[in-house]
């Protein structure tokens, strides 16, 4: 790094400076696409933005230390504002992932078109050149670009392996679960877009200062796509792969495109196709696993990593973030839900006090899950009001409903496939304990109830198992533990024990009962196991064709003829399980 610029030929030094800056941009593409799952074509626009910020200021206002600082400020702040705008368009609540990608595709096209049509101000298609810049040697620039790349890589590496970085993977795996854990996914994505935009713009700024020439192509769609190719070839989601991929490809391109102008494009295109087909993970992961295999040949299979996470119980924070708790944990008034002409809920109304364990039973298709959805997401119901802890949920997002005390477990296990059990639990604590953006903690503090569920099902002995490798029942238990980690005051459980054994059901039933009795918490439970419902409920509501047909004590409901007729059939509660 220190002597390289002195011994390498000038052309190579020049090429490497550019490759270093491109690699920093490729890393931002890797963060967005590889780690967070946002396919972006638009990082070139931010690179171009930074480059033109420097070129425009230096061309039209002249060069000086103060002006350079202003240009730098414009590059960073402007890129962040642009990212904020683009991020809002791409990720506003309700936007689909495809829509987000289309927006990032349009961005470089719009930016480069603006540059083309800027006349003599932007230099149109010939760009800007001949402006003054820092009077530094090529060697000095080499070191500046190198340090910039190393600092970017190190910073991003620290962030990605930190507890905060895990949230990106959680978003890539399952946005819905993130929302229902109280994480504002749109906001996280927009902030990430802004940070990545600032890094790319900074690279662009340095690029203009070194090269003293800028052109609209640097902000264009072709460059944005090339960045994606480099990342894919190197190995997305690996950080180092895209870095090496960019350095190798950009350097070889600048050497070979001169001697083989057309053939080189064809060859690099072919190489891309071959890698995508044969090594979908990219070159670096393929190489790494080959080395690992060779290393381990003859050696016994590796043992699972030893536990690095220490579980302990957290201080309770009931109703964290809520100004006041009401007398009623939950009140539902005249709630209707229509899907087109289909009326799924018709005028549902009931209220639940803290310390109640209310079971919701009814035939399949009665609207039980729909009712749960209407309580945990303000945008779901067609009309009526829902109040959580005496706060009207209005049209709040699921994340905002979590802040009002709701915690929802889905009917089908809804977990983060690629995160381990311990990582998932930490993500679930994000709302109550802000994770560090650069550190990984060993200690994992969880509320007692979550710990008890983990112990009862044996999840505490599988902390380092990836969620996707858990059995169906264990996924259910993990999701329940994650929801309990939110310390909700209104717990919405949609068949929480499906797929669990009788013994585990009993244990979980006891935990739920204990939670409602000893904490200021109410549980709304959808269950088909009437034995289970009978054992733990304090009250039962029967839903039939979208209406409440019975609301009463356990004995009243279980022994009613109506329930036998529409729900239980000939089977008595004792025959089940």
């Amino acid at each position: 790094m220190l002597v390289a610029p002195e011994v390498l030929p000038t052309y190579l030094v020049n090429t490497l400076i550019r490759a270093f800056l491109y690699a920093a941009v490729a890393i931002t593409v890797d963060i967005l696409w590889g780690f967070t799952g946002i396919l972006t074509f638009g990082q070139s626009a931010f690179f171009g933005f930074g480059a033109y910020a420097a070129a425009l200021v230096f061309t039209h206002a002249g060069f000086g230390p103060g002006l350079a600082l202003i240009a730098f400020g414009v590059a960073i702040v402007g890129a962040m504002l642009l990212a904020l705008l683009v991020g809002w368009f791409a990720f506003h609540p309700g936007a689909s992932p495809l829509y987000g990608s289309v927006i990032t595709l349009v961005l470089p096209i719009v930016v480069s078109q603006l540059l083309y049509s800027g006349g003599s101000f932007t230099g149109s298609s010939s760009g800007l050149s001949g402006f003054e810049s820092f009077d530094l040697s090529l060697e000095a620039w080499f070191r500046i670009a190198g340090v910039f790349l190393i600092a970017t890589t190190a910073g991003v590496w620290l962030f990605l392996r930190s507890d905060g970085g895990r949230i990106l993977e959680a978003i890539r795996d399952n946005e819905q679960r993130c929302e229902y854990l109280g994480i504002d996914v749109s906001r996280v994505k927009i902030l990430l877009m802004m940070a990545c935009g600032a890094i790319a713009s900074c690279a662009g700024f340095l690029f203009a200062c070194v090269q003293m020439v800028v052109a609209p192509e640097y902000a264009g769609f072709a460059f944005g796509t090339e960045l994606l190719m480099w990342v894919a070839l190197g190995g997305r989601g690996t950080l180092i792969g895209p870095l090496i991929g960019t350095l190798l490809l950009d350097t070889s391109t600048s050497y070979l495109s001169g001697s083989l102008p057309f053939l080189w494009k064809l060859l690099s295109g072919l190489a891309f196709v071959v890698v995508i087909v044969a090594l979908p993970q990219g070159l670096l992961p393929a190489l790494a696993s080959a080395i690992r295999r060779a290393w381990r040949r003859g050696a016994p299979a590796s043992v699972a990593p030893t536990a690095e996470v220490e579980l302990h119980s957290a201080d309770p924070q009931p109703l964290a973030g809520l100004a006041s708790a009401g007398r009623l944990a939950l009140s539902v008034k005249d709630v209707h839900k229509r899907f087109g002409s289909l009326q799924v809920l018709r005028g549902i109304g009931f209220a639940v006090r803290p310390n109640e364990l209310l079971s919701l039973i009814g035939p399949n298709g009665a609207g039980k899950t729909t009712l749960m959805r209407c309580i945990a997401d303000g945008a779901e119901r067609s009309s009526g009001t829902v109040r959580l802890n005496d706060h009207d949920i209005r049209h709040s997002s699921p994340a905002a409903c979590v802040a009002l005390g709701a915690g929802r477990k889905f009917q089908n296990a809804n977990v983060f496939d690629s995160l381990t059990v311990a990582q998932s639990m930490r993500v679930a604590r994000t709302r109550l304990k802000r994770p560090s953006l650069w550190r990984r903690e060993r200690a994992l503090a969880l509320p007692t109830a979550a710990l008890e569920v983990m112990r009862a099902t044996g999840l505490d002995r599988q902390l380092h198992v990836a969620s996707r490798d858990l059995s169906h029942g264990m996924k259910q238990a993990l999701e329940l533990a994650m929801v309990l980690a939110l310390e909700p005051s209104v717990l919405l459980l949609d068949e929480p024990t499906a797929g669990l054994t009788k013994a585990e059901r009993t244990l979980i039933g006891r935990i739920l009962l204990d939670l409602t009795q000893s904490h200021t918490l109410c549980v709304l439970l959808v269950e088909h196991d009437l034995d289970f419902v009978h054992e733990i409920s304090t009250r039962i509501i029967v839903l039939h064709q979208g209406q409440i047909v019975l609301d009463g004590s356990v004995e009243e409901v279980v022994n009613s003829d109506l329930v036998r007729e529409i729900y239980a059939g000939a089977a008595t509660p004792g025959a089940h399980g």
């Binding site: 298709g365 490798d469 585990e504």
Partner: protein, 234 residues
Amino acid sequence: MSAALEVSGLTAGYGGAMVLHGLSLSVQPGEIVALLGKNGVGKSTLLKTVMGLLAARDGTVSLFGESVSRLPAYQVARRPLAYAPQEKALFQDLSVEQNLRLGLRDAGSFERRFARIADVFPVLATRLKQRAGTLSGGEQKMLLVSRALLASPKLILVDEISEGLQPSVIGRLATVLREEREQSGTAMLIVEQNVGFALTMADRYLLLKRGEIVGQGKVDSPRSADQLAAQLGV
């Protein structure tokens, strides 16, 4: 006569971690076998391996006397068998009827065959044109088992089919599966957490623990099912 399903010395799992360790079992034609066991012992893994969705590390799987161990999933699925997996395996954007028709080998027989399904799950008959994704969780389960039955297979593999169903429907489901066996001699391998339900149907049960069969026995009468469930502690 060869067994409907014969598994011998099967070892399979995910990545480097094996879940099944040299497992052997067989299901005779017309026999209903319940596969019981706690979470994560490999029940679903076994069904996935039989269907070719998961590659076996070792051992063989034979259907009706022919080995299918090395066949890809789509070729296994061409044998006269039906599989109702645990996690949603419906085409969410297709209608209920389209989902059902996909399970059929000859399209002409739909009306005749569906008449029987409609008796068991009347709710499906009223929703034939509705998108499968808009059905409730329990209704989707009904659709899944209906699709398996509609094809009149010689072997049915079902994974936790009672989960999320209301008690009266579970009762009817047990009846219809038993009837199917009486009428068509269909063999069934039933993975269940609801031991009571599984044993009211099964002729025989197998107990799975850490990827191996650790116990088995006959189910004499439905009355003994509850006692067995308590004994097995699952």
